[in-house]
Symmetry: C2
Subunit: 335 residues, 2 copies
């Protein structure tokens, strides 16, 4: 997982001064201003991984935290003005797809052939409608393609060249394959050998809006040096992404194969619905008991219908943050 | 769903005399010979759909029932001689993939371009390992490609051209695209218009072996006139396919998009594990309450660790059957 850190450091310095100019400083955790449930909540992640605390310089940490703050604000602005949770999670994920720091959209890790193959999913907790794309290579924002699958087709999931074609037909922004590849990511890819420890990471967002509706969105470049055509948990409804107004909205990040086998996102919902566990307890059990016992590293973010937040992870770090209508907020990297 | 029936009738008559020659007559339901749990169980389905009772002639019904009996026997022979549940479900699904009567492998329905795109998955309840392929076009037995993904890669799911390439590299039998297309299926495809009611169907098997291990396998050609790249529930672990020694093994068939949104296969396991429901009650609730209320047609087959069997469906028919070590067996089509 150290590879994940190293591969990001080179271009981090190139973009860091830009972030300093435009970003707000990270906000610290505050106590709730009231005992009432918040009117809206957004929670995001930018991947769980291995950078050990202290291995990032202060300015590097600041750059990550600033990007998380901006992604949060892009979703919060929508929720504040009465927009839907689906619009908010889509906006936050789009922002992180466009940012080369995260393994989604621009800046994605590369597969065994040195190409970016991108996966994304969204789910609307109000309708249980969902959309997903797997292995797209030309769509600038895969999460928008997932939304289009949900809204414009009778299907839930499109994968491979058919998904790229659909996105083009829908008028989504198409980019050359080179758009996704940031230089140092490619240099790093050339240096690693097939079979080397896989780098992974994901971005995601979950939200509760002022109408009480939940939504989740997730996007990823997958696992470094993955086989062509490999799909991880991100585009699998129930594994990496799930939302249901009855329970919670969930977005996962980590070693995708384990998240598929454990049906992690739906498992959280099922523990709440069928076993009556509170969100935090269910999330903690899945990440720090069930997954940990299988040596499956990663974490998840979740929000329930009352606006409770959970962000457990069993890796060294998870890039994460939240913001609520009652003025609580956090952006953080380490435990 | 009547289309499903019609499209099969033409070549049914062509193969019917062959089946009569080689098949054993369908066995009827018998009472258990002992109160002990059976040593092994296999349950299969050949798709849920719409043929109304009485719309099949006696000889047509006999042909279907004979094929189901043979598929059951191909799995039972393995379980009887001490083979694993994984081997048994794979053999039964291979048999149905090779049979042109079912929508899987040879005889699959065709996508919007008139081509077969095939999905399959397997899961081993002992290890929670799983494998799946989506949208393959050249692998004679997609379920064998799913097994290879599980056993030979660090991934769970491969989709599109990468999955075909992997299967070829693994030495699996590769066939021309024309292999999958049976003549009347193609004629039927030419007559239907884009947007017409979709025909779907699936084959699947679940089993308990003499060592007490559960496994599930599912395979399909998907939905007629589906968009290129569409994946249904079949290759999605937790949606169409799931197995866990703690609870049950499940294979689903029906309107795949609903099965994805409802994470049906894992939902059955979760209702047993978290709510303590018996297999039959949990399966009945999902199929005839939850899915039915969403107008989601289909069914599932399942076996639990004690060898209990459930086969609920909310459509007019589900091609199905089971066989156990204590000499119970059934093959059936209608309610």
């Amino acid at each position: 997982m150290c590879n994940f850190l190293k591969s990001q450091l080179v271009h981090l310095f190139l973009v860091i001064s830009f972030f300093r100019l435009v970003a707000q400083p990270a906000e610290s955790v505050k106590e709730p201003v009231s005992k009432d449930n918040p009117k809206w909540v957004i929670v995001i992640h930018g991947g769980a991984g291995g950078p050990v605390k202290g291995s990032l310089s202060a300015s590097q940490e600041e750059a990550y935290l600033n990007m998380l703050s901006q992604a949060l604000e892009s979703g919060s602005a929508i929720l504040r003005s009465g927009g839907t949770s689906l619009e908010a999670v889509t906006a936050a994920v789009c922002f992180m797809e466009d940012c080369p720091l995260f393994n989604a959209g621009k800046g994605a890790v590369l597969d065994e052939e040195g190409k970016a193959e991108l996966d994304a999913a969204v789910m609307d907790g109000r309708t249980l409608k969902a959309g997903a794309v797997g292995g797209v290579r030309t769509v600038k924002n895969p999460v928008l393609a997932a939304v289009a699958v949900m809204e414009k087709t009778k299907h839930v999931m499109l994968a491979g060249p058919g998904a790229d074609r659909f996105a083009r037909e829908q008028g989504l922004k198409i980019v050359p394959a080179s758009y996704f590849i940031v230089t140092d990511r490619y240099e790093k890819w050339k240096q690693t050998k097939p079979g080397a420890d896989a780098v992974h990471g994901t971005v995601g967002a979950v939200a509760l809006d002022q109408s009480g509706n939940l939504a989740a969105a997730t996007s990823t470049g997958g696992m470094s040096r993955k086989m062509v055509g490999r799909l991880g948990d991100t585009p699998i409804i129930g594994a990496g992404t799930y939302a249901n107004n009855k329970t919670c909205a969930v977005s996962c990040t980590g070693h995708g194969e384990f998240f598929i086998r454990n049906v992690v996102a739906y498992d959280l919902s099922a523990l709440m619905e069928y076993k009556g566990l509170p969100l935090a307890e269910a999330a903690e059990y899945i990440v720090n008991d069930k997954l940990k016992s299988q040596k499956a590293d990663g974490g998840l973010i979740a929000v329930d219908k009352e606006g409770n937040i959970a962000m457990p992870f069993n890796s060294n770090a998870m890039f994460r943050g939240y913001k609520t209508s009652d003025d609580r907020s956090l952006v953080a990297i380490f435990k």
